[in-house]
C-alpha cells in the first residue's frame, strides 16, 4: 500500500486519526483498568544474581518492583534462547532448535489477543533485537491462528542501523504521489490477478501505517544508538515510540545482548545495567502520558538465567542445570496490580502468556500454564 505523501505532521495526524477510527477500547477484563500491556522478555540469559541480587545494577527494575509485584522464583526451561523466549509467548514449554528459523506449533499471546479481541495488526507489536530468528515469535503455524493474527515485528537493530539508514539517505526518500496518481496506482494494483503466495499479516491499511512508521523512525535517532546493548536499546526505543504514537494494545520487547556473557562477565553486567536504564526511559514515557499511565501494565521476565560458575573464558554459559540457570526473577507493574508485594512461591515463566491474555480479556485455550498468582491488588 503506498501513501501519497509522508512527512512527520501528516504521519502524526494519520496516527491520531487511526486511533480515533480504531474500535472503541473494550474493557479488557471486567472491572480492570488495564487496557494495554508491555511484555518484556529480558532475554539473553539473565541471572537473579545480577538483577535483584545486585540492586545497584537495576534501579529501574527495583522501582517497578516497589510499585508492583516481584516474583522471586520463576521457573524457566533451558530450551535455548529461542525456545525459552518463545515459551514466554506461547505458555507452552516446547523444545526448539537454538538456530532454528521456523515458527512454533503453539499459538502465541499475540495471536490469542488479536483473534480474541478482533484487533488489526497495528494494535499488536513486537520489538526485537535478535534479527531474523525472532520474527518467528510473531505467529505460529497453528491452522486456527497463524499469520492473519500475527504481530507486526520490528527488529530495531536490523532496520534502524546506520548502514541501512545510509542506503535510504543515498537513494533518497520516495517521491510523494498526488491524489490522482495514487488513485491510478491503486486501480492498476487491484487489476493484477492471481493469488498471493505470501500470507499477509497486515491489511492494506495497517501496511500503510507500518510504511509510515518505518520512514519516520529511519529519520529519527533510533539508528544512531551505540554501545554494547545497542540492539536491545533500539528494541526498547522502537517499543517506546510505538507506544507513544499508536498506543497499541500489546507490545512485546525481546532483548538478547546479555548473551555476551558467554565470553565476558563484565560485558554482561554492563548490558544488564544499560538495559535497565533503557527500561527507565520507557517507563518515563509511559508515566508522562496520562492515558498510558492509567491503562498500561508492564511485565518483565528473563527467559532463563545462566550457569552458577564462570567458564574457562571468564564468562557464563547456560547449561549446568543449576538454580541460577533455571530460576529467574520477574516484575509486574500496572494499575490493577498489588504494590510492593514480593511473591516467594514458585511460579513459571510460561505463566506470563495466560496472564497477559486474561488482562486483555482474551482466551488462551492451548496454554499449559496458569495466570500468575497473587498479582492483583
Amino acid at each position: 500500500m503506498l501513501t501519497p505523501s509522508i512527512d512527520r505532521r501528516s504521519f502524526l495526524a494519520g496516527a491520531a486519526a487511526s486511533a480515533l477510527l480504531a474500535p472503541k477500547l473494550v474493557a479488557a477484563a471486567q472491572g480492570k483498568k488495564t487496557q494495554r500491556v508491555v511484555l518484556v522478555a529480558f532475554a539473553g540469559g539473565v541471572r537473579t544474581r545480577e538483577t535483584f541480587g545486585t540492586p545497584g545494577n537495576v534501579p529501574n527494575l527495583l522501582a517497578l518492583a516497589k510499585e508492583g509485584v516481584l516474583y522471586k522464583r520463576v521457573k524457566s526451561s533451558n530450551l535455548g534462547h529461542y525456545g525459552a523466549s518463545l515459551s514466554l509467548f506461547t505458555g507452552v514449554a516446547e523444545p526448539r532448535g537454538i538456530r532454528e528459523n521456523g515458527r512454533g506449533e503453539e499459538p502465541t499471546v499475540f495471536e490469542y489477543v488479536r483473534k480474541g479481541l478482533g484487533l488489526p495488526a497495528s494494535e499488536v507489536w513486537i520489538a526485537t533485537s535478535g534479527g531474523a530468528q525472532q520474527t518467528n515469535y510473531s505467529y505460529s503455524v497453528n491452522s486456527e491462528y497463524g499469520a492473519r493474527f500475527g504481530a507486526n515485528t520490528v527488529d530495531g537493530d536490523g532496520l534502524f542501523n546506520a548502514e541501512f539508514k545510509s542506503i535510504v539517505n543515498s537513494l533518497g526518500r520516495p517521491k510523494p504521489l498526488d491524489e490522482r496518481e495514487a488513485q491510478l496506482l491503486a486501480r492498476m494494483k487491484a487489476a493484477v490477478g492471481g493469488g498471493d503466495a505470501r500470507k499477509a499479516l497486515n491489511s492494506p491499511e495497517s501496511a500503510a501505517q507500518v510504511e509510515r512508521f518505518i520512514l519516520e523512525e529511519l529519520t529519527g535517532g533510533t539508528a544512531d544508538l551505540r554501545g554494547p546493548n545497542a540492539a536491545d536499546a533500539k528494541a526498547i526505543r522502537v517499543a517506546r515510540n510505538l507506544l507513544v504514537l499508536f498506543k497499541p494494545r500489546l507490545v512485546a520487547i525481546v532483548l538478547q545482548n546479555a548473551d555476551i556473557a558467554h565470553t565476558s562477565f563484565n560485558g554482561y553486567v554492563d548490558v544488564v545495567r544499560q538495559n535497565d536504564a533503557a527500561l527507565g526511559d520507557l517507563m518515563r514515557a509511559i508515566r508522562a502520558d496520562a492515558e498510558l499511565r492509567e491503562s498500561t501494565a508492564v511485565l518483565v521476565c528473563p527467559e532463563f538465567g545462566r550457569d552458577r560458575d564462570l567458564n574457562s573464558r571468564r564468562g557464563l554459559d547456560h547449561g549446568d542445570g543449576s538454580e541460577d540457570l533455571e530460576y529467574v526473577s520477574a516484575v509486574a507493574w500496572g494499575p490493577d496490580f498489588a504494590r510492593d508485594r514480593i511473591v516467594e512461591d514458585d511460579v513459571r515463566a510460561v505463566d506470563l502468556c495466560p496472564t497477559v491474555c486474561e488482562l486483555l480479556g482474551a482466551g488462551a485455550p492451548r496454554v499449559k500454564a496458569s495466570r500468575l498468582p497473587r498479582l492483583f491488588a
Partner: protein, 369 residues
C-alpha cells in the same frame, strides 16, 4: 527499459506453441521442456538466487530446460548461491559471516569438483565464525546435533552430554563413533547418515517449498550418503521433474535475500554489491511482515534516478511496453483484463512509467516466484 522480444516473436518460441514452418521452409520442433518466462525466472532464482539478467532472458527464453541446467548447475555462481543459503541456515550472517579463506574458497573448489557438499559443510562448521556463533560446549554441541544431524537434543540428552565431554577434550563415543576433540564432533556428525537425511530434506524444501515424499527421500538419502558429489545431479533431476513444474505454477514466497537481489536485477539489470544486499536483507529480516518495507524499498529505488525509465512520450506502444513489464517482473504474460486496466490507467496524464512499475513491484505477486 525491459524490452523483451516482440509478442509475436516471443509467441513463436513459447512452450505451448506447436512446431511451425519458418521462413526457410523447414519445420523446427520446439525443444523438450522449453523455457517460458515463468520457468526461466524460477530456475534462475532457485539456482542463482536472482532473476535472469536481460542478456540471459534473450539467450535462454524458448531454449530447452535441460540445456540451462547443464550450463548453470554446478557452475561458480550456482555454488556461490548454495554457500549463501548454507550460511543463512547456520545464521552465519552479518557479524558472524565467515571471512576465512577456507570458506570463501568453497564455491570455486566445489565448481572445480575438488570438494563435495559434505566436505564443504564440514569446513563451514569448522570455521571460527561457527564457533563464535555457538559459544560454549552446550550451545556448540546442541547446534551440531540439531542443524547437522536434525536431532532434538531434549530427546537425546545422553548424546549431548557425551558431545560436551568431547568438546572439553575427553574421550567419548558420540553418535556411535569415538571422538576426543571439538573438531571430531563435526566430523562424526557430517559422516552420519542423519546428516544426509537432514541435508536432502532441507534442500528439497528450499526448491519445492514442501517436504519430500518419504519413499523418494529415502532413495535420495541413500545416494547422497554414499556419494555426496551427487548433489548437483540431484538438483538437475529435481528441476526436470513434474513436481517442479507444479511448484512453478504455484509460486513460492521470495526470501528477503532473494527479494533484495531481484529488485536490483529487475530495475538496474545488475546485482547489488554485497554490502547493499546485506543491509537490505538484514533490514527486511527484522520484520515479521516485510511487505511494507519491501514496498518502501521498491519505491525508493524506482525514485532514486538510477533506473533507466523511458520517457512516456517515447513509448509508442503502451500495450506492448506493459506486456513486457509483466513478463520481466512477474514472470508471466498479462491477461487481457490486466492489460486493458493498465493501458487505460496509463493513458491518464498523471500516470507515469514509474507508476506502472510501482503497481507491479509493490504488488504481493512480485514477492513470489
Amino acid at each position: 527499459m525491459h524490452e523483451d522480444k516482440q509478442p509475436s516473436e516471443e509467441w513463436r518460441a513459447a512452450p505451448d506453441e506447436p512446431a511451425t514452418p519458418q521462413g526457410d521452409g523447414l519445420t523446427r520442433a520446439s525443444p523438450a521442456r522449453p523455457l517460458g518466462p515463468a520457468e526461466l525466472r524460477t530456475a534462475s532464482c532457485d539456482l542463482l538466487g536472482r532473476p535472469p539478467l536481460r542478456a540471459e532472458r534473450e539467450a535462454w527464453l524458448g531454449k530447452a530446460r535441460h540445456e540451462l541446467l547443464e550450463a548453470w548447475v554446478g557452475g561458480l555462481e550456482f555454488w556461490q548461491n548454495w554457500l549463501e543459503e548454507q550460511l543463512y541456515y547456520f545464521f552465519l550472517i552479518d557479524n558472524f559471516r565467515p571471512e576465512s579463506e577456507g570458506v570463501l574458497a568453497l564455491p570455486a573448489e566445489l565448481a572445480a569438483g575438488r570438494l563435495d557438499v559434505r566436505e564443504a559443510t564440514q569446513r563451514i562448521a569448522l570455521s571460527p565464525s561457527f564457533d563464535q556463533r555457538n559459544p560454549g560446549a552446550d550451545t556448540f554441541v546442541t547446534v551440531v546435533m540439531e542443524q547437522l544431524a536434525g536431532m532434538t537434543v531434549q530427546k537425546n540428552v545422553r548424546e549431548l552430554e557425551i558431545g560436551k565431554s568431547i568438546y572439553d577434550g575427553a574421550n567419548g563415543v558420540f553418535l556411535g563413533r569415538p571422538g576426543k576433540r571439538q573438531a571430531d564432533i563435526i566430523e562424526i556428525a557430517v559422516r552420519h547418515r542423519a546428516f544426509a537425511q537432514t541435508f536432502v530434506a532441507r534442500e528439497y524444501a528450499r526448491f519445492f517449498g514442501a517436504p519430500p515424499q518419504a519413499k523418494a527421500l529415502a532413495a535420495w538419502v541413500q545416494r547422497m550418503h554414499a556419494a555426496p558429489a551427487e548433489y548437483a545431479a540431484l538438483v538437475r533431476e529435481w528441476l526436470l521433474s513434474p513436481e517442479w513444474e507444479a511448484r512453478v505454477r504455484a509460486r513460492l514466497p521470495m526470501s528477503n535475500r532473494l527479494f533484495a537481489r531481484a529488485l536490483y536485477v529487475d530495475l538496474l539489470d545488475r546485482l547489488p554489491d554485497a554490502e547493499e544486499a546485506r543491509r537490505m536483507r538484514s533490514a527486511l529480516d527484522g520484520m515479521s511482515d516485510s511487505g511494507p518495507l519491501r514496498s518502501v524499498l521498491a519505491r525508493i529505488l524506482i525514485d532514486s534516478g538510477s533506473v533507466n525509465l523511458p520517457d512516456k512520450r517515447a513509448i509508442a506502444d503502451p500495450r506492448r511496453w506493459i506486456w513486457e513489464q509483466f513478463r520481466v517482473l512477474l514472470g508471466r504474460d498479462a491477461s487481457e483484463d490486466e492489460l486493458n486496466a493498465f493501458v487505460e490507467a496509463f493513458a491518464a496524464p498523471e500516470c507515469r512509467p514509474a507508476t506502472v512499475l510501482y503497481a507491479l513491484l509493490t504488488h504481493p505477486q512480485y514477492q513470489s516466484y
